[in-house]
Amino acid sequence: MVNAINDALDIKLKEDRNVVVYGEDVGVEGGVFRVTEGLQMIHGAERVFDSPLAESGIVGTAIGMAIAGMRPVVEMQFCGFIYPAFNQIISHASRMHNRSRGVHKTPMVIRMPYGGGINALEHHSESMEAIFGHIPGLKVIAPSTPHDAKGMLISAIESDDTILFMEPKRIYRAIKQEVAEGKYTIPLGKANVLSQGKDVTVVSFGAMIREVQKAIVMAKEAGISVELIDLRSIYPIDKETIAKSVKKTGRIITVTEGPKSFGLGAEISQIAIEEAFLHLEAPPARVSGYDVIVPLPKGEHHYMQDPLKIFYEIEKIVKY
């Protein structure tokens, strides 16, 4: 996925002089995950560069550039370090368009590796999509494959809205997939049905997709047929795809990494009951983290969703 993202950035940098890429250590070093590796060499230090260590500064200046007609793509080094930029995101990046009644656009992408499972220090494993999904004016997306990462990032850069692009760092290098060369886009806001099934719908995104897929294999052995929806877009949510699926299966589970309360799971469940109440054969369920800080590596397995836990929930809802 790292290569696919790098490729997307490279393509847009080539194609559009208004695109610049910056953030902490993204220049010479190519980012701590090497996502931007080589881009400075190709496109120059005016277009791909290290910023001072200040997230509010990074996002705030990107807003200014975007207003001036550029298309900045900035990196937050880890999910846990986006919060100093929170005010700029919620008070400006997501609002300038509305505030100025469309006069000022903020076409910018905030890239951010998110999620656990990499044996990291505190603040390096979070998945707080729900907080960002609640911010009016922001769009939040997350790919689950290299192919999607490339196409979605290109779409994001081309979008005139402010987009938070959450990268599942756990599978940065885990999924081997041929990615089409050259430019292609994937429409934002559309979910992807990854597998058809009839007993239960599982909604998930990002790094959890792979875990769900493993659980689906277990479920199959247990005779349960699962439909898997890769959300791709956290906000807006593709209600239609969810509604269609849950009307068919009558059961829905959302699998996420973030804390339970006020999380993505509740939102998906709400959508399911709003769209398909009379089709429901069991209460929409959420498999999520607990309402705790993601534990340090030695305790992380207590927190994360693994295939077995997902299967456990699948079995539970089917037996309901």
Partner: protein
């Protein structure tokens, strides 16, 4: 000039003293009489409007408003020097500068009457809307500066913040980014002595605010912000710095908020009459007026006359704003995104259904 007035020495740059006397002739910028008069009148217009808005507010015809009263020379000088192609990044107390960019009073009225449309400047180009979250706008200025430099343009960014705003982290990050990037931004701190009720000495222990420039390796200068000439000159010199690619500059404009913080504020709670009187002596308009009258290019009579005209004009635009009409429901939805999500469209339809039900019920 920046050497001579290195803020580390806490020296305040002044040309016209409190009595309207020129005390630094060698520094006097060569402004033609007609230009000077034009600038003076613009400040007078701003002041007239400002005072009138406060009275509209008392009549309940406008919501909370932050008066500019006493700070007009700062916006005035910026207004005289800013180009159409320069960016203006206001905080919320820069009426004069906004008018100079082409924002109309009517638009400002609309804004303070509670219409977002007031921020959709129809004539003013390259002007950001008022920014409420203190100091946050300074980062946009740094970003705009980057874009100018990146595109090899010759324009500038004028960005405003208050004394209170210098305490925010975003102030620090903005001037620091601009300093590292060497972008053409003139950061202007309107030090009007208070952040609402909090005096500047409770914001920071530094000797002055201009001295903060040193922390970012940029040029800084403390200016008598009630002295139109000093402000004019300081900005002119800052423009040179920016144009030479040595950008940014941090200007502390020392002034006084003669009015309340906003129309909901009561300054008698936190400051004395004596203090207000002291500062009244330093009023920027009175001072410049003395100068103009001494130069015999202005008179009390002329002033009275134009003020009457201005009042009519202010009122005219106010009435236009007041008759702006209802706020269409679609306006709360349609500007949220460049590309509106389906779900938001559904929400709008949901609201329409409710309105239909409501209408039917009312019958």
């Amino acid at each position: 000039m920046f050497k001579e007035y290195n803020p580390i020495n806490n020296k305040e740059f002044q040309i016209l003293d409190h009595k309207g006397k020129v005390v630094a002739k060698e520094m006097m910028p060569p402004i033609k009489d007609d230009e000077l008069l034009k600038a003076y009148k613009e400040m007078l217009f701003a002041r007239t409007a400002d005072l009138q808005i406060v009275s509209y507010q008392r009549q309940g015809r406008i919501y909370t408003y932050p008066p500019n009263y006493g700070q007009e020379a700062i916006s005035g000088a910026v207004g005289a020097l800013i180009k159409d192609s320069d960016w203006l990044v206001p905080a919320f107390r820069e009426m004069g500068a906004m008018l100079a960019k082409g924002v109309t009073l009517k638009e400002l009225f609309l804004y303070f009457m509670g219409y977002e449309d007031g921020s959709k400047f129809s004539k003013a180009k390259k002007t950001l809307p008022i920014s409420v979250p203190i100091a946050s706008q300074l980062l946009h200025a740094a970003g705009l500066g980057y874009a100018i430099k990146y595109n090899k343009e010759k324009d500038l960014v004028y960005a405003f913040v208050g004394d209170g705003g210098t305490s925010e982290g975003d102030f620090h990050e903005a001037v620091n980014f601009a300093g590292v990037w060497k972008v053409p931004v003139i950061f202007i701190i309107q030090n009007n002595q208070y952040g609402i009720s909090t005096p500047t000495r409770m914001q920071t222990a530094s000797d002055n605010l201009a001295v903060k420039a040193i922390a970012y390796g940029v040029k800084g200068i403390k200016v008598d912000g009630n002295d139109y000439f000093a402000m004019y000159k300081a900005i002119q010199e800052s423009i040179k710095v920016c144009e030479a690619g040595e950008g940014p500059v941090l200007i502390e404009a020392v002034t006084y908020r003669k009015g309340a913080h906003t129309t909901s504020d009561d300054p008698t709670k936190y400051r004395t009459k004596e203090e207000e009187e002291q500062w009244d002596l330093k009023d920027p308009l009175k001072r410049l007026k003395s100068y103009l009258i001494a130069k015999k290019i202005w008179s009390d009579k002329e002033e009275e006359k134009v003020i009457e005209q201005y009042k009519v004009e202010v009122d005219r635009q106010f009435l236009e704003a007041e008759n702006y009409g209802p706020y269409p429901k679609e306006d709360i939805f349609k500007y949220m995104y460049a590309e509106m999500p389906d779900d938001l469209k559904d929400q709008e339809r949901e609201y329409e259904r409710f309105m239909e039900w409501k209408a039917a019920r009312a019958k």
